[in-house]
Amino acid sequence: MSELRTENLTISFGGLTATDNVNFNIKSGEIVGIIGPNGAGKTTLINLIAGIYYPTSGKIWLDDKDISQIPAHERSALGIGRTFQLIHPLEGLTVLQNVMTGFLFAQKMGLKQAREEARKLCRTLELTGLDRATGEINILETKKMEIAKALATNPKVMFLDEVMAGLNSTETLEAIDIVKQIAAERNLAVGVVEHVMGVITKLTHSVIVLDTGRIIAAGPYEDVAQNERVKSAYLGGGV
Amino acid sequence: MNKKKIYTIAGISAALILSVILLIIRPTILVYGIQRAGIYAAIALPMALVLGIVHIVNLAHGEMMMVAAYLSYFICTTFGIDPLVAAIPTGIIMFFLGLIIFKTSIAHTLEAPELNQLILTFGVAMVLSQSVNLIATSQPRKISLDYVSASATIGDVSFGIYDFIFPVLAALFLAVLIYFLKKTRLGKAASAVGQNPRGARIVGINVDLTYTIIFSLASMIIGVFGSFFITKFSIFPAVGGTFTMKSFALVAMAGIGNLPMVIGASLVLGLAESLVMSVPHGAGWSPMIFFGLIIIVILSRSFRSKQ
């Protein structure tokens, strides 16, 4: 059982406050949607939690440990996993080797064990052709590889940043099933960023809505969708 | 924008304070410092222009200066003219040489990773210096001119005055470049390209042409400087190498895209070098202090930009 909690988490880039006093928490077994218009600060929130940025103020707690100042690679080892909105596969490595990195470094396994575990993981994701270069795989396979890379770090908390974007509807349904199944099997805490509300309703238990860096609403999607502030944020954001 | 101004002011006032202190203790240090600063600034400005607009570190920068100096040398000895006159044809030839170098090689790596550009221009540098070595041998060459030894005495301090031509030249380069970038159509377009190449392309500016012109223009300035360089210093194929590093360091100190600050950075370095050289046995160590300073400045800058 794990819990991730942010406390007044704030970051400013020059004059722009991209994350503004965000208090957010997520527990094992929960799937929380993180929604909001473009530029709301969803990706920035993930980057803060993963340690790509350090907060201007505020704290991040993973089970009673303040992780807000420790470097990204250590957070990965502690159990923060994430995918990337803009996917940058490691082009110099094969698909299998891409997946192996998390086992090798976050989980500190040896080469042989990492290779076996990566194969096993890919099998559960139905990802095949593992010796191909990353340039040779299709979009669904790329997304699966991305999820596999996050899972390879053995996360307690995992963030998926628009993994469904670019998939067609059948592929999206497949991806939703995979995420649900893995989250349940591993008792993960999952944060899901998506723009397609159909995905959010099918996948998540509750959502938070970000707008200009602030949480403007939280709760089950059906309730939040009725919220006037949320409606106007989306209208203002042009979605 | 605002920060840039603060740095500029801070840099210039640091140089001023250092100058005043020097003026009181040892006026000659100040004189030589300013003269050195002029040399550094004059050669660093074209690199600042290229880095700010084309976003390329040209590791052949100093070698192009060396080639220009040789060109000027051969023009002077062949036609019997003064290097200061030869600056004009040298500048023109260097414009076209720059054009050729850019079009045939560098332009093809603009979209490639920075690594490729660095290695490529390193290759260009080697071709230039080794070709000159092959053609002109490594024997140092110098043009003897009477007027360079003119000196002046103020109070009981006497010093060479010809070298003040370098700070004047640097100021001239800066003035011309700023006028060009701020007042002319082409210059304004170039500034826009420097700040945001993609945006500039969308607005309909011919980015590739702008890059070519800017690189050629910078080569022309290098050419003019090369002619002035030969009036005072002896040249050999390896003479350019350190100027690439020094120029880069100055541009990094000044902040990429900040031309006026190159003068401030050059003053700090020129004065510091001249100070170290005035200490007994200091002359040999002065480049060391210089490189040490480079590393400190580049590091502190990169830390700041990371935050």
């Binding site: 993963a50 790509i52 470097p71 990204a72 690679h73 990965s76 080892a77 996993g81 990337f84 940058h88 490691l90 082009e91 110099g92 490595l93 094969t94 192996m100 990195t101 998390g102 090798l104 470094f105 976050a106 989980q107 080469l111 270069a133 990353t134 770090t153 | 570190v57 490639a112 920075e114 690594l115 490729n116 660095l118 290695i119 490529l120 390193f122 290759g123 260009v124 080697m126 071709v127 080794q130 070595n133 092959l134 390896a238 190498g241 350190t242 590093m245 880069f248 360091a249 990094a252 040999g284 160590w285 480049p287 060391m288 490189f291 590393i295 580049i298 590091l299 990169s302 830390f303 990371k306």
Partner: protein
């Protein structure tokens, strides 16, 4: 630089075996060929070391600096501490590695052009210190070794260099096959992704920088032991950066065999050209750097791999 994942392992191995055969041939010829062989191997070692670092995406122009440092460390330790030639080479590797470790702790925060130019400046700093520290280093005149390794006998010194090359090739292959390969490749491709997979970027860069500097130092020491003297101008010569770079680019980056092949080809070509146009070979190296970058950035090994792949997909 676009990298391809090398799936086909046969070509590099064939190239490698050819390279090793070329290294063995000089044993059966005269001292002149062996002396060329020693020079080529020195550059080969430098080329491999440069490649080992560029695999992490970090471009170092500091080869000549660490090479010179190693040369001096070897000669000074032999003169002042009476180290035997082999211990002096190991000592030089340690000195270069230690200095790289200390300097790297700061410099490895830099990337791209800042890192590249700082390494160039570092080499210059080493040279200036050595040049000016006359009491220890002999200043501009340099130092002489009292006694050469194997008294300068041709075959044993060549054998020593071949052994040295084999050790470095093995080390480079270890880098390619161990977890270091995964870390360095990930760092080159995307640092943020690398971090998110738990890779301690700084640690792996420091390992690569220290090890490659130690190799460069050892190469310098080996060279000093062969020729018996050091001077600031000759030991820190920019050619020790230029030539290995050209060799690696021609042979192909991101592999062990690329630098090996590049070194053999360019080394032999260079020695040949030297006879006809002294210094002309250096122009050729520069031109090769430019041409390779413009027309075949993946080098000979990479191109062979690609051709092979094309052939496969047509079958």
């Amino acid at each position: 630089m676009n990298s391809t994942v090398q799936k086909n392992k046969t070509w590099p191995v064939i190239f490698g075996i050819l390279g090793v055969i070329v290294m063995i041939l000089p044993f059966f010829s005269g001292p002149y060929i062996q002396s060329i062989g020693r020079t080529v191997i020195t550059y080969m070692i430098l080329a491999i070391s440069w490649d080992m670092l560029i695999r992490s995406g970090q471009l170092s122009f500091g080869l000549a600096g660490f090479f010179g440092l190693g040369s001096y460390a070897a000669v000074l330790s032999a003169v002042n501490l009476h180290f035997n030639p082999f211990i002096s080479i190991v000592f030089a590797a340690l000195v270069a590695g230690l200095i790289a470790f200390l300097v790297g702790a700061v410099v490895l925060r830099l990337r791209g052009m800042y890192f590249a130019i700082t390494t160039l400046a570092l080499g210059e700093i080493f040279r200036i210190i050595i040049h000016n520290w006359t009491s220890l280093t002999g200043g501009p005149n340099g130092k002489l070794l009292p006694k050469l390794a194997f008294d300068g006998a041709s075959i044993p010194t060549y054998a020593m260099m071949v052994l040295f090359a084999l050790i470095i090739i093995a080390l480079s292959e270890y880098f390619k096959r161990s977890r270091i390969h995964y870390a360095l490749t990930a760092i080159r491709d995307n640092e943020i992704v690398a971090k998110s997979s738990g890779i301690n970027i700084y640690k792996y860069l420091l390992i690569a920088f220290t090890v490659t500097a130690a190799i460069q130092g050892a190469a310098g020491a080996g060279f000093a032991q062969l020729y018996g003297f050091v001077t600031p101008e000759s030991s820190f010569n920019a050619n020790y950066t230029l030539i290995p770079l050209a060799m690696t680019l021609l042979g192909g980056m991101y592999s062990t065999w690329g630098p090996v092949i590049g070194a053999v080809l360019l080394g032999v070509l260079g020695e040949f050209l030297k006879l006809y146009i002294p210094y002309g070979h250096l122009v050729v190296y520069g031109i090769i750097i430019i041409l390779v970058l413009l027309f075949m950035p993946w080098g000979i090994v990479g191109m062979a791999g690609r051709l092979l792949k094309k052939g496969e997909s047509h079958e």
